[in-house]
């Protein structure tokens, strides 16, 4: 009894500590420009009170008589001001510091250039606490802005993968092979008309000189909808349903499981590499690629859970009471799957962040002006004397992954 209470207490506290650490990461990701940046949060001078960090306009007028000043490129530290509050880390990730370039160590002396042109040691306020990279970018500010990149890619990729996995898993598990019955003629007609509508939508989009994929899809959607409507109206004139009608079952489970099985056994990193090599990558590109390759295991797990739940009493009662299929899936089944989905979600985010860091580490993922943890490790690979480029980004990735895996255990 004592050990059970003790173990549950430690488990709960461990979860609480992990949740706090995760919230730190999320807040660092959301408020990154206000924690690490070179635009001051508050700037008071004779011209008035300005908040450059929060302003969305490119120019700010410092003195009423002088001309406006470009917010991004002016050196705020050298301006005359009554009060200037910079963010806690006073460097932005893309800012090159030429006096501290070529890997300034966190423990050595760092230099600044005074107004009369000579070099002097840097004060504690403006110190690079975790060192710099080759071009003089501050490591601490890249770590903080990299939170934003990694969390965006993690949540986005897993959101996309979860959508596809839920679609496949729920429908394959619920409908099975026997449940979707249509009239045989309608089924065949539907398949033929669907393929024809794709052809006609392409021809129409050529005729109207539309070139983007989304407009093709919109056309296909509209045309299939119109044709199905016409078919529904025509079926009024066909034989009534009381006479003998041949029904065929659409094997949704077999089809969806075959597609899922095709995607499960593919080696993920190799496919990510090949796809990233074909198209130049940005955050959204990487998000799409990672999401589209990692939904298969989740789909299989969700389908197994759905099959198990289909025979439970409350589901059968709902079906017999006449609830529609969509309502049963969304309203009854999905909330009971939330535990499984939570586990898949959290492990998926961890895997997505590791994949993105791995791809950028190889040099293939994000472009190097986007702040990313893998880019720091990439620089470290070539220059192993800069141990601060190895230790700190890796520690950040390690902690985030450990926190996510701890939270995902039941």
């Amino acid at each position: 009894m004592q050990s059970t209470i003790n173990s549950r207490l430690t488990a709960f506290l461990r979860n609480q500590k992990s949740k706090r650490i995760l919230w730190c990461y999320i807040i660092a990701g959301i408020f990154a420009p206000f924690i690490a940046g070179n635009k001051p949060l508050l700037f008071i001078n004779k011209g008035g009170i300005h908040f450059p960090a929060f302003s969305s306009s490119a120019y700010v007028e410092l003195q009423p008589e002088e001309k406006p000043v470009l917010v991004n490129s002016v050196d705020w530290r050298s301006m005359n001001a009554t009060l200037c509050i910079l963010p806690p880390v006073c460097y932005s990730p893309n800012e090159l510091d030429p006096h501290n370039a070529n890997f300034a160590s966190p423990f050595g002396t760092q230099w600044q250039q005074l107004t009369n042109g000579e070099l002097a040691p840097l004060t504690w306020r403006h110190r690079h606490w975790l060192g710099t990279t080759r071009t003089g970018q501050d490591v601490l500010s890249i770590l903080i802005h990299g939170c934003r990149t990694s969390l965006l890619i993690g949540f986005g990729a897993v959101g996309l993968a979860a959508l596809i996995a839920l679609l496949f898993g729920l429908f394959a598990g619920y409908y099975g092979n026997e449940k979707l019955h249509y009239r045989r003629t309608n089924l065949l007609l539907g398949i033929i008309i669907f393929t024809l509508s794709i052809f006609y939508s392409i021809q129409l989009s050529n005729a109207f000189q539309l070139s983007s994929t989304s407009q093709w899809l919109l056309f296909a959607f509209i045309i299939s909808f119109l044709i199905l409507l016409a078919r529904k109206m025509l079926s009024i004139f066909s034989r009534s349903s009381t006479s003998k009608v041949k029904l065929a079952a659409f094997p949704a489970d077999k089809l969806l499981t075959a597609i899922t099985a095709g995607f499960i056994s593919l080696p993920r990193l190799l496919i990510l590499l090949s796809l990233a090599a074909l198209w130049e990558t940005s955050i959204t590109g990487l998000l799409l690629i990672i999401g589209l390759t990692s939904w298969a295991e989740a789909a299989r797990v969700i389908r197994t859970e759905m099959l198990r739940m289909r025979s439970l009493p409350f589901m059968q009662h709902a079906q017999q009471s006449g609830a529609s299929d969509i309502k049963i899936i969304l309203h009854h089944a999905l909330p009971n799957l939330s535990a499984t989905i939570r586990v898949l979600f959290l492990t998926g985010i961890a895997t997505a962040i590791l994949s993105e860091a791995g791809l950028t580490f190889l040099g293939i993922g994000l472009p190097f002006d986007t702040p990313s943890w893998g880019a720091l490790l990439f620089e470290a690979k070539r220059n192993l004397q800069a141990w601060w480029l190895v230790l700190f980004p890796g520690l950040v990735i390690f902690t985030l992954t450990r926190v996510l895996f701890t939270l995902s255990k039941k």
Binding site: L270, I271, A277, A350, G358
Partner: protein, 376 residues
């Protein structure tokens, strides 16, 4: 028989996807394929390249490589054959009638079976020529597969040998401090990024400022030549310790927990309890009853670990400079060398899929209960 059909359908659908992706890597844009083969080294004295005959070169190569052929065996077109489209064509009725045309001579067919003039085709082992070094791809990757597969197999075998006794002991004394230590260290290992671990190990062991015990990269000392086979092996060992350690960490993190959970379930079964009640020694029970019944599960873990290690080989080989397939992929992606990338991707995926299929068949032979499906 149903079991075999199911596994074969999975294998064939994954194989089709792999072939489509491998084909798309090479032929995704028709400009690339022709222009990469042009050897425009016609320079004048200043070094300006002569582009006046560029279009002719492109045309010659397009005919040679067959780029102007259609892509696949059949294509859906309208009855009115037009390559370029004017909006006034839309009024023509023939524009709206779909027609399926079949072409036996197309790019896909050439890629697979080859025309005997230029390439011998994929089924006869011709993967094309590299864009960067102009040599056949098979020569490029011939020596490198051995390093990748050898290192991966060695690492996985070692991790199995180490993790099976540890996990069995943790399953026996479940709930003890050893078991909790195993679980927490497995969590630590699984969240350790493999590339970070490699860099840290390099910093620690191969650093002249720190311990300088192990060499940093490569697989053999450059200058000296060893005559004997045994001496060659002994001289390679220091180079292989760190990469093997990295592979082992990433495999063991998964294996420790999985084997412990499966062994724990086996220990709750009736026959094990009977054997222990009879007075059998624990080690005998473990290695005759539990291990034998776990052999299919262990084979399944092996079939997951091997492709994961091949995927991770890209990262590890790029850190440690091992001339294997991972390094080939990385160089191919940098140099946009699509034939090499497609060939290595095809070979790795083929090894993965064959591994899954063979493991399933071996498991079916070992434990015939898996072939019988209990219908729900």
């Amino acid at each position: 028989m149903n079991f075999l059909k199911e596994k074969l359908t999975t294998f064939i659908s994954s194989l089709l996807l792999v072939i489509v992706i491998a084909f798309a890597i090479i032929h995704h844009s028709s400009n690339d394929v022709a222009e990469r083969f042009i050897n425009s080294n016609t320079n004048d004295e200043v070094g300006n390249t002569d582009f006046s005959r560029h279009k002719q070169h492109v045309e010659i190569w397009r005919k040679k490589l067959g780029i102007d052929l259609p892509i696949f065996y059949f294509s859906v077109e309208s009855l009115a054959e037009k390559n370029e489209f004017n909006p006034s064509d839309a009024i023509d009725l023939k524009y709206w009638i779909p027609v399926i045309r079949f072409h036996t001579d197309n790019q896909f067919h050439r890629w697979l079976f080859g025309d005997d003039v230029f390439s011998r085709g994929l089924v006869r082992g011709d993967f094309g020529s590299s864009y960067v070094t102009r040599q056949p791809v098979t020569e490029l990757i011939k020596g490198r597969i051995g390093w990748s597969i050898g290192l991966t197999l060695l690492a996985i075998l070692l991790s199995f040998i180490i993790s099976i006794p540890l996990s069995f002991r943790a399953a026996l004394n479940s709930g003890s401090r050893f078991d909790q230590l195993l679980k927490s260290s497995s969590l630590l290992l699984i969240s350790l990024p493999v590339f970070w671990l490699g860099l840290l190990l390099l910093l620690l062991f191969a650093n002249p400022d720190c311990l300088n015990w192990l060499p940093a990269s490569g697989v053999a000392p450059i200058s000296e030549s060893y005559s004997g086979f045994l001496e060659k092996i002994i001289s390679t060992i220091p180079y292989l310790i760190l990469p093997t350690l990295c592979y082992m960490v990433s495999t063991m993190s998964f294996l420790l927990i999985s084997i412990r959970d499966s062994a724990f379930e086996e220990l709750q079964t009736d026959y094990v309890r009977t054997a222990l009640a009879k007075g059998q020694k624990e080690s005998t029970v473990l290695y005759t009853h539990v291990f034998r019944n776990l052999l299919p599960t262990l084979l399944t873990f092996f079939s997951y670990a091997f492709p994961a290690a091949i995927s991770g080989s890209v990262l590890i080989e790029s850190i440690f400079g091992i001339p294997g397939m991972g390094l080939t992929i990385e160089q191919a992606v940098y140099g946009k060398d699509y034939p090499v990338l497609s060939a290595v991707f095809l070979i790795s995926s083929l090894i993965t899929l064959l591994g899954f299929l063979i493991t399933d068949l071996i498991i079916a032979r070992l434990d015939p209960r898996t072939t019988v499906k209990i219908s729900a």
